[in-house]
């Protein structure tokens, strides 16, 4: 028997159920930010990528360490930033029409209203 592995498997299975419970309550309106948020969460692989650098002691090891760190960091940083950017756009009430018409000078400071028009 491998008690450590058994614990890991138990954690994995229970986390799956927690995930199903929590995520099935997310409304369809937020499914894109949800997927993007899930994306940033799997950026935790950065922790594993950083540990590669510890045990790498030859050229191949360092290349793998570099690539893994770069991939995972892009995942974490990009994921959180883009999720935040999306969620900032969800408003209960619109900002006033005059503000929008005044080309992007708006209530929230740095929202890029005028750009994609």
């Amino acid at each position: 028997m491998y008690p450590a592995l058994l614990v890991d498997v138990a954690i994995f299975v229970l986390s799956l159920w927690v995930g199903f419970e929590v995520i099935s309550k997310v409304p369809a309106t937020l499914h894109t930010p949800l997927m993007s948020a899930a994306n940033s969460i799997h950026g935790i692989v950065l922790a594993g990528a950083m540990l590669i650098a510890v045990t790498a002691h030859n050229a191949i090891g360092y290349v793998i360490a570099f690539l893994a760190a770069a991939f995972a960091a892009a995942n974490v940083v990009g994921g959180y930033v883009v999720t935040g950017r999306m969620l900032k756009m969800f408003r209960r009430r619109p900002i006033s029409a005059d503000t929008v018409a005044a080309n992007g000078s708006n209530l929230n400071g740095h929202r890029d209203t005028g750009r994609s028009a």
Binding site: Y2, L5, D8, I11, F12, V18, G19, V22, I23, K25, V26, A28, T29, L30, H31, T32, P33, L34, M35, S36, A37, A38, N39, S40, I41, H42, G43, I44, V45, L46, A47, G48, A49, M50, A53, V54, T55, A56, I64, A65, F66, A70, F71, A73, A74, N75, V76, G78, G79, V81, V82, T83, G84, R85, M86, M89, R91, R92, P94, A97
Partner: protein, 467 residues
Amino acid sequence: MSDFAWTIQIIYLLAASCFVFGLHLMNTPATARRGNQVSTAGMAVAIAATLAVIVHDNLISATGWIVMIAGALVGSALGLYSARNVQMTAMPQLVSMFNAVGGGAAALVGIHDYMRSGAAVSATMSVTTLLDVIIGGVTFSGSIIAAGKLQGVITSAPVTFPGARVVNLLLAVVGIGLGGYLIAAPNTALLTIVIVAALVFGVSMVMPIGGADMPVVISLLNAFTGTAVAMAGFVIGNWAMIIAGALVGASGGILTKLMADAMNRSIRNIMLGGFGTGDAAAAIAGGPGGDVKAIAADDAAIQLAYASKVIIVPGYGLAAAQAQHEVAALAELLESRGVEVSYAIHPVAGRMPGHMNVLLAEANVPYPQLKEMDEINPEFARADVALVIGANDVTNPAARRPGTAISGMPILDVDQAHSIIVIKRSMGHGYAGIDNELYVDPKTSMYFADARKALTELASAVKTLVG
């Protein structure tokens, strides 16, 4: 276990709790931003704890530090740049690329661990390592192909060749068979073949899938990435990675199921590919013929301006024409006249789950106006005008009859509205390749124009009309 190791494990658990709580807060738009902040905080703590472990153990070489920091900086810069600059219409591509790099990093963790441990690795650890490498590899190449298709770099049409399924099957056999052999007899050279097989399988899995099925594919690859990260967590014994991976796997799994249900297709059917290329057009069972009634901007504007309730039905055509801002402007104009406006959003409107909501939110549409299919369908009967913009198959009443290519697909009950205006460039078919019976309904008027141009004309016609 030392006190230090205990503390680190507790911190990882705390980080994982932040991920769960952050996802929980995403159950309403009002708290979702806070959810993302909680999740970010958890991630920062987990990364800090990992750094602490590296410093504490002090086994890392100077080159190791340089490589790690350089990699993290390059990756962060690329991630930050793309996240800041991506257009909301291109969100599916970006999410797909994040799937790719996440899966790729997870695979690299497994590859490194396998090469380092060599023959010393135990059989059980080999199983998780090989699963990590295979799933991560498939996700990496598959997600890049999916992103390429979404971006239009690779044709979005299904690409198949004779014997494609045989090749796929062969790749799977090579990957799994060799993987099984490697568990019994660790061998670094053979691992390379497994990696190559996984990468090629990722490509050949996504290539035959058509553009319309992308919401399902992205969700599925998201689930794969989560699973790969969880496997990487098994490999290095990191709870935060196992929990986070399982959460993402669950999220991707749920979204995959929702998307497949919304298209009334099984996941197996989508993965085998080729939707809209077969003889679907021949399958129309007695669709009523009839004349199409065209309408001009002025008449459409009269209908809209004097309605008391208007439901806007946006489809991907709206996003493709970049007309989100124009539709929001028209809606605001109508609302200022006291018209009740809401948006009916089909689950597969757009190129990924919930895509249309983000596009409309970007155009400053308040989220309480964005209604899900089940919520809005009973309201169509009370609507004076349903304004359909760039949506096709999801409004086709033929889905309610058996024997058509889209039979059984859940649709928006647009035909229940008192009158219907469809903005469309031509009478072309949707992805299912069949005629839309809504267009020949006597209540329907067709406004043939580009969505953006049509909406601008409508808005100015409404303005002139009501002064």
